[in-house]
């Protein structure tokens, strides 16, 4: 009984930690972009690239297995991983587009974004490195 109580209490304490960190959309400090609207963010990630404040940006993705990617697509586009895969199957096999380039991890995402102001990406809120600025916070 005591063990059960301990378990319940520890779960109650630990549960909030299970909630994933906030995801933010970032660009290089050198980019003129300071903010992006939800709908434009959606368009950029559905087309792989797009114009933001007159600036051409190319979208970057984290790898498919990455939980942050799953969270990003769920919150920003309302899409599941299978839903996105299905969407890109429709685009690729009709010759209408190709998915954003994926980078291997958070660290690679930081490096890519820091060094090229034409890229747009997303990161966990606590992984924004000094060369990057946040232009959108997912709800």
């Amino acid at each position: 009984m005591k063990a059960l109580k301990t378990l319940v209490v520890s779960m109650l304490v630990l549960l909030p930690l299970q909630v994933l960190a906030e995801v933010v959309v970032v660009v290089s400090n050198d980019s003129p972009i300071s903010t992006i609207s939800e709908s434009r963010l959606r368009q950029v990630y559905l087309e792989g690239a797009g114009q933001v404040d007159g600036q051409r940006v190319t979208a970057l993705d984290l790898s498919e297995e990455n939980r942050v990617r799953e969270q990003f697509y769920k919150q920003a586009l309302g899409k599941t991983p299978a839903g996105m895969k299905s969407y890109w199957a429709r685009m690729i096999f009709t010759g209408r587009g190709a998915p954003p380039r994926s980078v291997s991890g958070v660290h690679e995402m930081q490096i890519m974004l820091e060094n090229n102001p034409d890229f747009i990406g997303y990161l966990p809120g606590n992984q924004v490195s000094s060369g990057l600025k946040v232009i959108y916070r997912l709800p």
Partner: protein
């Protein structure tokens, strides 16, 4: 003896050479393999490894490259305790990623070519076990099963739904690309046919011209008809997608992608022609469709999307080979179109489409439509679809009474309604399993003309087959789809 020792030396040399070669090939294969883009989104990793290889090959430092590769893989980056070497690796990585992201043409074909594919394996049958009758006209298929869409019987078929497609995308330069998609269908013994083969040129940002062989954009899902993974059904609703018997044309299209505020649009126009041969030799009919043109608009706004299309062509066919010369068609106008709406917020899905097909002479006009809804519970998605189709506009032909025209018209008339109960399960990223049952009802066109009317919807068009007695004629489907 001398010979033997020389042989030993040469064998040893050969061994050394093979060892070096296999190391090199191993490296090459490892990188090539990635470049074939097995992972849908994994192009970057592939490009990086490839660049690593290229870099070292350039410098003739393959062994060191292998060493670095091994260190890189084994340490996973994170275990590199030495900060200096980590920075070095980062810098290297950045440079390589930059190279990989450069849009300038590369001499390395693996950077410019991507290969994607789709495959479906499906089982299907229906539950109408009765045989076709004799009827008022002689029925050449008397005693045979009723065939749904001309081919499917009450025996389990592995061939109806099974197919495979392979697509090669080649980036020629910044603005030009070439795409070839080959499709093999089990029903055609996997004889490969080219579905797409075009050159794409970006005239202006967002404005693309394509020329070659393209898939007809007749209805909302027509252009990815064969990519099972792209939709939730095991087979697209036949009420709409069973109405046009050909799917590709030779010609060109022009597509403009534009965003207006939160709305995204793709406006496309196309022009070309279709040539096809139907029937079994020696009794074949050549169909010629000229001035095949049309336009369509695909829009999306958040979870909402819409589709609007119109297509027109002139149709010529000589039916003399069938012994029905009076029914031959000479530049008859065919027009078709559809309007579609969809909502998908990631869990709840609702989709509807209404299509029509109008033509002159004895070809019946026909409309079709469906409404489909589903809900995703994690990896499971149960869905429900209602569909209907009907042929109209034949009063004049039937009254006129030319026997050849009446015969063909009545064979071509279809009336049908159905309920489809389906379940889709996401097995793994890029792989799904689908289970489906489509139950048909209201399939008789006898209200047009009692004698010789098609009574069986899409189960057989033979006017002499007799009416199906089976309660709830149902088509069952089980399929596995993958994209890669």
């Amino acid at each position: 003896m001398v010979l033997s020792s020389r042989r030993t030396v040469s064998v040893r040399r050969l061994f050394d050479a093979c060892f070096c070669y296999s190391l090199a090939m191993w490296w090459r294969f490892a990188t090539m393999h990635n470049n074939v883009n097995i992972d849908f989104f994994g192009g970057l990793v592939a490009a990086i490894t490839c660049e690593v290889q290229e870099y070292y090959e350039d410098k003739m430092r393959l062994p060191r490259g292998l060493l670095w590769g091994a260190v890189w893989v084994a340490s996973g980056g994170a275990f590199a305790s030495d900060a200096a070497s980590l920075n070095d690796l980062e810098e290297r990585l950045y440079r390589l990623e930059q190279d990989a992201t450069s849009t300038s043409p590369s001499d390395n074909w693996t950077d410019r070519v991507s290969i994607n594919g789709f495959v479906t394996y499906g089982l299907t049958r229906h539950n109408v076990h009765e045989k076709q009758g004799a009827g008022i006209f002689p029925n050449p298929e008397q005693g045979k099963p009723f065939y749904y869409l001309d081919t499917l019987s009450d025996e389990v078929s592995h061939r109806e739904l099974s197919r495979v497609g392979l697509q090669f995308d080649v980036k020629v330069n910044d603005r030009t690309s070439a795409v070839v998609q080959i499709l093999g269908q089990a029903i055609d013994n996997y004889d490969a046919e080219v579905q797409w083969a075009f050159v794409d040129y970006e005239l202006l940002p967002g404005l693309h011209w394509r020329g070659g062989r393209l898939v007809l954009p007749t209805f909302m899902h027509s252009q990815y008809l064969n990519v099972g993974y792209a939709y939730h059904w095991a087979a697209l609703p036949s009420e709409v997608y069973g109405t046009v018997p050909f799917d590709t044309f030779d010609g060109m299209d022009l597509t403009w992608s534009v965003n207006t505020g939160p709305l995204s649009h793709e406006l496309s126009a196309f022009y070309g022609g279709v040539d096809l041969e139907d029937g079994d030799p020696p009794v074949t009919v050549d169909y010629e469709l000229r001035n095949y043109m049309g336009a369509n608009l695909r829009s999306s706004w958040g979870s909402l999307n819409s589709w609007l299309s119109y297509t027109e062509s002139t149709f010529t066919a000589d039916f003399a080979s069938l012994g029905l010369p009076s029914a031959s068609l000479d530049k008859e106008v065919l027009a078709s179109g559809s309007i579609g709406l969809g909502y998908d917020n990631g869990s709840f899905m609702l989709m509807a489409e209404r299509s029509y097909y109008d033509s002159d002479n004895w070809i019946p006009d026909r409309w079709g439509g469906y409404v489909s809804t589903g809900y995703r519970f994690g990896k499971w998605m149960p869905h429900l679809t209602w569909g209907a189709t009907n042929s109209t506009g034949l009063g004049e032909v039937l009254e006129e009474g030319d026997p050849a025209k009446v015969f063909l018209a009545q064979q071509s008339m279809v009336r049908s309604k159905s309920w489809t109960y389906g379940l889709r399960y996401d097995l793994a990223p890029g792989v799904d399993v689908k289970l489906e049952a489509q139950t048909f009802y209201d399939m008789s066109t006898s209200s047009y003309r009692q004698e010789g009317a098609n009574l069986n919807g899409m189960f057989t068009s033979s006017v002499s087959a007799g009416e199906i007695d089976t309660d709830d004629p149902t088509v069952y489907r089980l399929s596995v789809d993958a994209v890669f």
